[in-house]
């Protein structure tokens, strides 16, 4: 096996890890949060007070 083949296997492996990460995170989020909350975004809503902010910006944890 030459070093380019190792690179190719590494590319496959990283792709699989990233794909699985997104898939598992999506399932985790879907199970943790209420569907109504996840799909609560409305076009034109820009009032920041109504919006849940991420923890690092002082929002809910």
């Amino acid at each position: 096996m030459n070093s380019f083949q190792i690179l190719e296997y590494a590319a496959w492996a990283i792709s699989a890890v990233l794909g699985l990460y997104m898939l598992f995170d999506m399932i985790r989020i879907d199970r943790t949060y209420d569907e109504e909350l996840l799909t609560s975004s409305r076009e034109g809503d820009i009032e920041d007070t109504l919006v849940i902010d991420p923890p690092h910006q002082g929002g809910h944890k």
């Binding site: 030459n2 380019f4 190719e8 997104m22 989020i29 909350l37 799909t39 609560s40 076009e43």
Partner: protein
């Protein structure tokens, strides 16, 4: 608060964190790869001069697009960009079609970029002396990595795009300066320019690939719901974006047409990198190779951002299943739309030929531009100046809209000359999709909820 319960009044929305520089990076980032590769097929269609005419005619087309887009989107600050505009100004069926144009144009372009990146890595491997090298692992890695980046958050995604795009643009400026455009030391336009080998028909045919210089600048609108000040940032980012591209496109043509004969340039895969090789400067070769890779990555990255926003917006309005209208509570991204479009991009990148993928992207974009010219005429008629506040007012209306419509018509003919079957197949697809929407899907749409802009009643209603 329990994380499993939506408290009354609480909502999750996309995050407003972007500034004008991110908007510029989104628009130029999607497009700049067209300077590094693709535009030069216009040379093959009609010669050097035809490619220059195509560069400037397409530049005029896209200046109209940028001006029209800047005005309309400064009033419709919503993800989905032209889709949201069409919904408010024309109607649901037009909006559904525009949404599909956007998703197709960006997903196909993403696939084309991934194919190109895979090819570049494969070429490096072959040049390094490795046998039996494959492009597929790197095609898949490009799509998965950029999808993951988009999944994690829009600020990081478009900051990465800003860095990649700025480096790729500066590389073109450095190459232009390095070939000493004020002298004939390296450039030899007198010997290279060959008039119009296929006459004016060649000029029209070259328009097909002339679009490649600017295709995607209208993608800035997709950031409308994530910029801090849409009325200011979107016109500023879009207009500086088209100016950047006009400069980059003209420089690219000037450098390449002075260094390479048209027979070679017309079918070169990486013309700017080839131009750097002809200067015999190793630092320039490295810089332009890096520029090629970065511009390709930036383009694919921006395309994932834009396609997912369009898909998300359609889901949110029930034009598609509402499942797609979800926002990630921590990353604040349309995560389901991002993940859903990954396999779509992978299928096209893995199985479809590059020229077909590019042509479908161009055709989808072209359909979108045609709609834009009609859209702005309706917009000005229904809501004249002074009736609603605009962040930007484009000059000489309706001239830009009419010029855009005329140039789109000519470009349809240009595409028909080379890819007539694909053009007809695509039109049939959109007719079938429209029938499905009208007779089946529209019953699920909450008709009052889809119009969200606080505009007065239009003139005549």
């Amino acid at each position: 608060m329990s994380q499993t319960t939506a408290v009354h009044g609480e909502k999750i929305s996309l995050l407003r964190v972007l500034g004008p520089a991110h908007v510029w990076a989104l628009g130029v980032g999607i497009v700049l790869v067209g300077e590094y590769m693709g535009w030069n097929f216009a040379v093959g269609k009609g010669g050097m001069i035809a490619a220059l005419i195509a560069c400037w005619v397409a530049g005029l087309l896209y200046t109209c697009v940028a001006m029209i887009d800047s005005e309309v989107t400064s009033t419709v600050a919503a993800a989905g960009g032209q889709y949201a505009q069409a919904k408010h100004i024309v109607g649901p069926l037009m909006a559904f079609n525009v949404g599909l144009y956007l998703v197709f144009a960006y997903t196909m372009l993403e696939a084309a970029n991934a194919i190109t990146l895979g090819y570049l890595v494969q070429t490096v491997g072959t040049m390094a002396g490795f046998a039996d090298v494959h492009d597929k692992p790197f095609i898949v890695l490009t799509i998965m990595f950029l999808a993951w980046l988009n999944y994690r958050g829009v600020y990081a995604t478009l900051t990465v795009n800003l860095i990649l795009t700025a480096i790729a643009f500066v590389a073109i400026l450095i190459l232009f300066a390095a070939v000493k455009p004020w002298s004939n030391e390296l450039l030899n336009h007198q010997a290279m320019l060959n008039g119009l080998p296929y006459g004016w028909l060649g000029v029209i045919a070259s328009l097909h690939f002339g679009l490649w210089y600017y295709l995607g600048i209208e993608g800035t609108c997709q950031a409308a719901e994530e910029v801090r000040s849409p009325a200011r940032s979107l016109p500023l980012g879009t207009m500086t974006g088209i100016m950047t591209l006009l400069i980059a496109a003209t420089m690219t043509w000037y450098v390449c047409s002075g260094l390479m004969p048209w027979e070679y340039l017309g079918q070169a895969v990486t013309p700017l990198f080839d131009a750097a090789r002809l200067t015999n400067s190793m630092p320039l070769m490295v810089l332009l190779f890096v520029g090629t890779v970065f511009s390709t990555l930036a383009s694919a990255n921006g395309c994932i951002n834009d396609a997912s926003r369009a898909w998300f917006s359609m889901g949110r309005d029930r034009y598609l299943p509402t499942w797609f209208g979800a926002v990630h509570p921590k990353n604040r991204t349309p995560y389901r739309s991002i993940v859903f479009l990954v396999p779509v991009a992978l299928v096209f990148a893995y199985f479809a030929p590059l020229d077909q993928v590019i042509t479908f992207s161009i055709l989808s974009g072209l359909l979108g531009y045609t709609y834009m010219s009609l859209n702005v005429i309706l917009f000005r008629r229904k809501w004249p100046l002074g009736m609603i506040k605009r962040g930007y007012i484009h000059p000489f209306h309706p001239l830009p809209a009419l010029v855009l419509l005329l140039l789109c018509s000519v470009t349809y003919f240009a595409v028909f000359l080379g890819y007539g079957t694909q053009l007809i197949a695509m039109l049939i697809f959109f007719v079938v999709a429209s029938l499905w929407f009208h007779f089946h899907r529209y019953q699920y749409v909450r008709r009052g909820d889809q119009f969200t802009m606080q505009w007065p009643r239009p003139v005549g209603y």
